[in-house]
């Protein structure tokens, strides 16, 4: 770890004023500190936002909820409103990391956690995410955890967050505060950038922007939600692939469907074309296979991740079968309830 200055922000203004490209926000620190120890991230200044008031609440916002940026992953997953109306989010959170880490990890930090590409983690390896233009050692390397969608020649990395995949399926927005105090809301696709030739630029945030909250719209009434995560062991591993689904059935037909995919792209992946294929249809395994086929039509950019195509396909079919009632729901597939 390099020596760094530490600032404990007392107000949002003070936090923003302390931020510049050489500084990093620290929230739970579960990702930042690991990366600092390895000198993958070397901020000169660390701005601690954990004492800022008012960012750790879950509050009603219209028909939905406002999740403060400092709400802990474990608190969010356990919140009765989340469990009843957004069970998918709770499932996604609980599928991530470990109990200890979730107790520290925050909503804002989870969204902005960095990729787990092993070549990004090893400063001896070329990585354009660490050093623009340096090249990508993952090309031709060991790539089990890499992405299959949205990659570029400069970067094959996948976004590791489970929570973000759930949020993408729930159409959540991120509330961002700029230095002048102005607030704006970004859909996740507006927050995360695809790598192109600048994989170091992962989001559209400015150095002195702060995430203050995540806004959940009202859940789809009467929907079934599912989060299914495939990984190399039963717990405490990042997703090889994951599928988030929100499905509302309408008299035996699929009335509404939202699907998001994790472990496969530099940001939570969503494909409106797939959802359109499902709308108005009666659930049918052949249809689900067709949808899954279309999702994974293109070859993987790296031979090591070729396996993610059949894995994603089959996982999607399994999720759709359960969420539409073709098969018995298993753990991770829940009917939403009205928050009493």
């Amino acid at each position: 770890m390099r020596a760094f200055d530490y600032t404990r922000a007392e107000s949002l203004d003070q936090a923003a004023a302390a931020l510049d490209p050489a500084a990093s926000v620290i929230a739970g620190g579960t990702n930042l500190l690991d990366l600092m120890k390895l000198q993958v991230m070397t901020p000169e200044r660390v701005v601690d936002i954990t004492r800022l008031p008012g960012l750790d609440a879950i509050e009603p916002e219209g028909e939905g909820l406002r999740l403060g940026a400092l709400v802990r992953n474990s608190d969010l997953a356990a919140d009765p409103r989340i469990r009843a109306r957004y069970p998918l989010l709770s499932r996604a959170l609980l599928s991530g990391a470990s109990g200890q880490i979730r107790n520290k990890a925050t909503t804002g930090g989870n969204l902005l956690q960095r990729t787990r590409c092993p070549y990004f983690y090893d400063p001896a390896m070329a990585c354009s995410k660490r050093e623009p233009g340096a090249g990508c050692a993952a090309q031709g390397g060991v790539g089990r955890m890499l992405a299959i969608f949205g990659t570029s020649d400069a970067c094959l990395a996948a976004h590791p967050s489970d929570m973000a995949v759930a949020l993408r399926a729930l159409d959540a927005e991120v509330e961002v505060r700029s230095r002048d105090g102005g607030l704006r809301r970004l859909a996740l696709d507006e927050l995360y950038r695809l790598p192109g030739d600048r994989p170091d630029l992962e989001t559209t945030l400015a150095a002195d922007d702060l995430i203050t909250a995540v806004i959940l719209p009202a859940p789809v009434a009467g929907s079934v939600q599912a989060y299914r995560k495939l990984r190399d062991r039963a717990s405490y591993a990042f997703a090889l692939v994951s599928v988030a689904a929100v499905i509302r059935m309408d008299q035996g037909r699929i009335g509404q469907a939202a699907l998001a995919f994790g472990g496969v792209a530099p940001r939570p992946w969503r494909d409106a074309g797939l959802e359109a294929m499902l709308h108005g249809k009666t659930p049918d395994e052949a249809l689900f296979r067709e949808v899954a086929q279309r999702l994974t039509a293109d070859p993987a950019p790296n031979p090591d991740t070729e396996f993610k195509r059949p894995l994603l396909r089959r996982t999607l079919v399994a999720v759709l079968r359960e969420a539409t009632g073709l098969a018995q729901p298993s753990i991770g597939t829940d009917a939403t309830k009205d928050a009493a």
Binding site: R233, S235, L311
Partner: protein, 731 residues
Amino acid sequence: MTQTFRMDKPQPRLLDETRQGVIGTSMDRPDGPLKVSGQATYTADALPEGCVHGMLVRATVTRGHLRDIDRDSIADIPGLLAVVRDPRFLRNPAQGMAGEAPDQPGDRIDYHGQPVALVVAETFEAARDGALRLKLRFDSVAAEVDPDHATEVEPQDPTESGDWNAAWSGAAHQVDVVYTTPCHASAAMEPHAAVAEWQGDRLILRGALQMLRFNRKELADAVGIPPEQVQILAPYVGGGFGSKLGIGTEAVAAALAARELGRPVRVVMARQTVFDAVLRRTETRQHLQLAADAEGKLLALGHDDRVSNLPGEEFAEPVSSASQFLYGARATRFRQDMVRVHRVGAGSVRAPGEAVGVIAIEAAMDELADALGMCPVELRLRNLPDQHPVTGQPFSARALADCLREGAKSFGWSDRQAPGARQEGDWLIGMGMASAARPNMLVKSAARVRLSAEGAVVETDMTDIGTGTYAVLTQVAAEMLGLPPGQVTVKLGDTDLPGASGSGGSFGASSSGSAVFLAAKKIRDRLAAKLGCAPEDLSLQDGLARGANLEAPINDLLAGEVLVEEAEIKGGKTAESHFSAGFGAHFCEVAVHRWTGEVRVRRMHGTFAMGRVLNEKTARSQAVGGMIWGVGSALHEDMSHDPRTGHVVTRDLANYHIASHADIPRDMQAVFLEERDDFANPLQSKGVGELGISGAGGAVLNAIHNACGVRIRDIPATPDRVIAALEAAGR
């Protein structure tokens, strides 16, 4: 001078006669409270006055030379003391029981990740900063890193018997398959660490090490001083699994830096360095050929394998070790190719040989049972040899048949159905089994026991690497001396104490326990004389001595005297006359998800016969721990190397997956059958931990097949491999 006792003939089963009643019980570890309250001082926990911190720096080329070190590149770090570089640095840790320094390559680099320098600073943080930023220049040459394509292949001497062609060609059933296993990391919880301090010409090293008697010689040889000037302390070791058998790069670097700087130096490996530079288990490619007649009698058994190591390293994973004695066949063949690659060196990792070899032979046996349409348990029962098929030795004690039968009964094996027949929702349920076997060893070991009015003290340089040595040696001494365990103190992990076997090869408890047994027996004999009875009439219990109608408190017999006895044991004629091994049988039930290929172990029973159980609880922990490693090797563990540089890509425990709690079912049982191995040692006990691993992964693979009808021959059986097999089978 103590005379060394040689195990030349079976010894009386004295521990079946003694009265204290602690041997074999589930006694708690005496060191348990210290450990769970964080008070046990592991290597890195105790810092001598003025201790500074060193961090290893790795080579970032695969093969070549270190040209120079740009010390200026980190000169700005406050508290930086030195960049230590010494031709005596080790290329890799010593192999187990080497007793001498491993390769000291000077400026030569043989693998990406090789430790080449030590940055020393006043604080750990500054040292780590310096180690990560230090600029090194290398000359680099091309290197072979992939065993599948490497050209330097050294065939080892084959072991063959019978007429292979005759046995193979006419057989009614043949299985001819290739299994592969990846590299494994030991993955001990405690990273490798050393604290070195010089007192004049004397080197005192606190180390995370398993075998101090050997480590002392290795360290002395590496540094260039006589072993008498080296003292090693390792009172508590946070797991080893083979990775701390030999002296490590961190220990030699700490010793040399401490000398150079004139201050104590602590070196703790970063987790990444543990993966980069500690000996791995080789990947294997195993070719299994089994032929049987229509009744399931094995005619031919071939187990050829390919392993790898760094150039010059002698260790070769004994992959087919158990295949040579589990079953007999008319013709057998065991061949091994050693491939030289520039990857971090290979060495002993928990159950070298059996951990990967028994998976493959037991999976191939399952394939043969399938081909025969025979119950896999029955196939094994039909092929148990009368004696060691290669050496012709009789077995000292082999309850494999009992393990197979008892295990099948307690598990409910008779409920097993045809592949793919059992389904619960989207989960396919299957059962599998495998035999377990692991050769047992007795390694030279000494111990001292003193008995006084305060109780007994046991002293040996034996280590407790989390296995329960403190508990087991307490029990042996308490049992022999008729004392409540609370009156026995065990002192371990100090080379100034009598030299023991160390912890490795599952021989530690039996070997060091036998030395304690013999020393305590001498004290018993002296107590018998004091009481006035023959030694065989003496009975000791709760501080009271009885014999020949006489009775006296032990303390009265001592009358203020302190009785001190030392004993040493080593293997003798019984090791040649008989073949001693632990045996067992694993039964396992898994669920395989028909869409996603996920595998979940639902229950697993291991039934073992490994001689006398010295402590029911620590033995169970060892056996169940071994089974868990077995599950992990079947389903998760996979150390990946970059195909271009050979460096380890899975460099931390987030990427290198060992089984998590959620992977292990609640119904995970180890059952011990009553056994005494009279030829093993005076305790009649055998090794436990590695026996638990042996075959466990094979049972999991076989259960996968029974669940969904596909064979996974490249392990681990991760979801992608399972669905690839399912899709290939049209499912």
